[in-house]
């Protein structure tokens, strides 16, 4: 066991830090959460800068124009960009981390040539059409229909929780092409152009009051069969290619954020006064923060273990479920402590004077989704119990 970064890893970190130090001060202010055209412009501008500096597609193989970075370099990249406060992957999330890798693994050479360079440069934005109102945790029961009509699929149904739908050019879409087959065997994965007639996008207002996701309705929308990736009715397997990533290195940025929130909680506790002392003088609160930090540090070590395992075996292990369960609940506990600390100060989502408090109130609301999105904590626990511990299915 060795936790020391190699000289070339340290060199990579130094170069990246230098570049971030140069480029971040030149960025415009972040747009508001509901200004989707501005968000697209901001995020794709960042993607273009990454591309020009050679950091786009950090995990993509070089044959597809990516950096082909080692897992350790990817860890460093995610750690450094998050720490420096660089723009989040944003609207490029699905393209660079889901649809792109799926296209690399499963699509034809022509399909790859059509999409991968554009995704990498920030010219093409993707969204994901997987979940449905009646197919959430049980995703394979999805029912959005794709009926073959000549060389087209005619799509009717609805999708939900689609991020970036308003500004996406393409959708990685799962459709039911064989309703008679067992549920995992009748699904097809298609690349759906978002300017196709017959779709309607309705933004969903979330708990934080902005519209992070939309519902997308399909009414006999037509997509060429040529847009299919993989063979017909094999889409479940094709889709699962991307899930491995989500549970592999996918939480590194979240962990760096969690660590930062803990540090900010200390800053907040030093500023909030109760009677004659600050909240930080409260031993019980300090101790609780110590417990949270202990778990945080253990999770960071666990990420390195998972990464080392993936580097040796080539595939991310089920350890991703463990990280997901632990980090999402840890983050919620951090925001719980913040709300207790703030008491009436929590009624404001704006910072109060010199208290950096608004962020915590916002995050307390936002983090309710962490134990739901990308597989609820209950589903993750089923995965741990069944796939790792070998307990029988219910």
């Amino acid at each position: 066991m060795d936790l020391r970064y190699s000289e070339s890893d340290e060199r990579f970190r130094k170069e990246l830090r230098g570049w971030l130090g140069d480029v971040l001060p030149t960025l415009d202010d972040k747009p508001g959460p509901d200004d989707w055209p501005a968000r697209r412009a901001y995020d794709t501008d960042w993607q273009r800068r990454l591309f020009e500096a050679g950091y786009a597609g950090i995990s993509w193989p070089t044959e597809y124009g990516g950096r082909g970075a080692s897992l350790v370099e990817q860890l460093i990249y995610l750690e450094e960009t998050t720490r420096a406060g660089a723009p989040y992957v944003g609207v490029n999330f699905v393209g660079t981390l889901h649809a792109g890798p799926t296209i690399m693994a499963e699509a034809s050479p022509a399909q790859r040539d059509q999409h991968l360079p554009r995704i990498l440069r920030g010219d093409e934005v993707w969204c994901q059409g997987f979940s449905e109102a009646d197919a959430g945790s049980d995703l394979a029961s999805l029912s959005c229909r794709g009926v073959r009509d000549g060389d087209e699929y005619v799509i009717t149904g609805e999708k939900i929780w689609t991020s970036f739908a308003q500004v996406a050019d393409w959708c990685e879409l799962l459709i039911r092409t064989d309703p008679e087959a067992p549920k995992h065997k009748g699904i097809t994965w298609v690349m759906f152009p978002m300017d196709t007639p017959g779709i309607e996008i309705r933004p969903i207002e979330t708990i934080v009051g902005s519209s992070e996701f939309s519902e997308v309705f399909f009414d006999e929308a037509r997509v060429p069969v040529a847009n299919r990736v993989g063979i017909e009715n094999d889409g479940w397997r094709v889709a699962m290619v991307t899930f491995g990533f989500e549970r592999g290195l996918g939480f590194v940025s979240d962990l760096v954020e969690t660590d930062r929130m803990l540090s900010e909680l200390v800053v907040l506790a030093r500023k909030v006064t109760r009677r004659s002392a600050t909240a930080w003088d409260d031993v019980a609160l300090r101790r609780e923060i110590g417990h949270l930090q202990a778990e945080m540090d253990a999770l960071w070590a666990m990420t390195k273990r998972n990464l080392s395992q993936a580097a040796r075996t080539g595939v991310p292990g089920p350890g991703g479920s463990v990280v997901k369960v632990a980090y999402s609940e840890l983050y919620q506990r951090i925001t719980d402590v913040a709300m207790r600390l703030l008491a009436r100060g929590g009624l404001s989502r704006d910072d109060l004077g010199d208290w950096p408090s608004g962020r915590f109130v916002e995050e307390r609301l936002r983090s309710t989704s962490f134990t739901i999105a990308a597989g609820t904590s209950q589903i993750q626990r089923n995965i741990v119990a069944e796939r790792i511990l070998g307990l029988p299915r219910e």
Partner: protein
């Protein structure tokens, strides 16, 4: 960076595990309650395996291994519930003649410990005492103690000091005392990790076997989720305990105190949480003396109180974080 076990480390882990399975099977461990948890012959077998001399130089009969290796070995001792003052004896093997060979058994405590309890009073040849000025060795024959009749852990006998704790002979300075405290916490976390894993394995095996309502109880999500949480706690503890071992070996990769704090907090959570859950998963049987779950819970409490509690280390960690901001 490669945070996976090397081939040598896997071999070490396997070796200690099969030794424990052969020589410290659970009926043997239970039987050790009759001799105060330490049988001289079996203690010598631990020494012969090299558990107290792992880190010593080859010239001194050691294997010149590191802290990370030692953490792996102690994880296995914890898993097997091997009783006795393993950590203290290991830590002082380079300072006390006979400890590495298994001839001298050493337990210890902090001088200001308010409980005044001495572990394994009848078998130790030396009581180690840590204070702000250094490390001290006290001859147990000079102690005034009163036996404690009713014990938490039947394998961890204690006696209560009834007189003042003698100053003892100096074995190390203040810096040594501080270092031993952290090293002891790391190895105790390793033992706790082993207990946590043993509790998970016992609960999972029972839940696969025990049938109610026509199916294994482990098929019910209510129980599955309890056991998934056991696994999560143990994996957090493993990551932190291994990181503590690696950091002790190579302090350039991070703060030793911070790594040890994370290990002792998360391993304590894992050992106690998993032992309690193991009892719950067993239902009524979990409440019996026959099932081993109670031995795990009791050992978990013994280890939680050794080399600083979770709260002690959480306080230390909070101060470290605050100082770094």
């Amino acid at each position: 960076m490669d945070f996976e076990l090397s081939d040598d480390q896997v071999a070490l882990q396997d070796g200690v595990r099969s030794f424990c399975a052969g020589r410290f099977a659970i009926p043997v461990v239970r039987g050790l309650a009759d001799v105060g948890g330490v049988d001289p012959a079996r203690w010598h077998e631990l020494a012969d395996l090299g558990l107290f001399s792992l880190r010593l130089a080859e010239a001194d009969g050691g294997a010149e291994l590191g802290w990370a290796d030692t953490v792996l070995a102690f994880e296995e001792l914890g898993r097997a519930l091997v009783p006795g003052p393993l950590v203290w004896t290991h830590l002082l093997a380079d300072r006390v003649a006979g400890a590495a060979q298994g001839d001298v058994v050493i337990s210890g405590l902090q001088r200001h410990d308010p409980s005044g309890l001495v572990e394994h009073p009848d078998v130790i040849g030396l009581l180690a005492v840590l204070d702000d000025d250094g490390v001290w060795g006290v001859d147990p024959a000079t102690l005034d103690t009163q036996a404690v009749g009713s014990l938490l852990d039947p394998l961890t006998p204690v006696a209560r000091l009834t007189g003042p704790l003698p100053q003892g002979e100096r074995l190390g300075d203040a810096a040594d005392a501080a270092a031993l405290w952290m090293q002891g916490a790391a190895l105790t976390a390793a033992l706790e990790l082993g207990v946590a894993e043993a509790a998970t394995d016992l609960a999972v095996a029972y839940a696969k076997d025990r049938r109610q309502f026509g199916r294994p109880v482990g098929a019910f999500q209510a129980l599955k989720h309890l056991m998934a949480d056991m696994f999560v706690r143990a994996e957090l503890a493993r990551s932190a305990a291994y990181a503590a071992g690696v950091t002790l070996d190579d302090p350039e990769v991070g703060s030793i105190e911070r790594a040890v704090a994370s290990a002792k907090v998360t391993a304590g959570e894992a050992a106690l949480g998993n032992a309690k859950t193991c009892i719950q998963v067993h239902g009524g049987m979990g409440y019996t003396w026959e099932i081993d779950a109670h031995l795990m819970l009791k050992r978990a409490y013994v280890l939680e109180a050794s080399f600083g509690t979770r709260d002690d280390w959480a306080d230390a960690l909070a101060d470290l974080v605050a100082a770094s901001i």
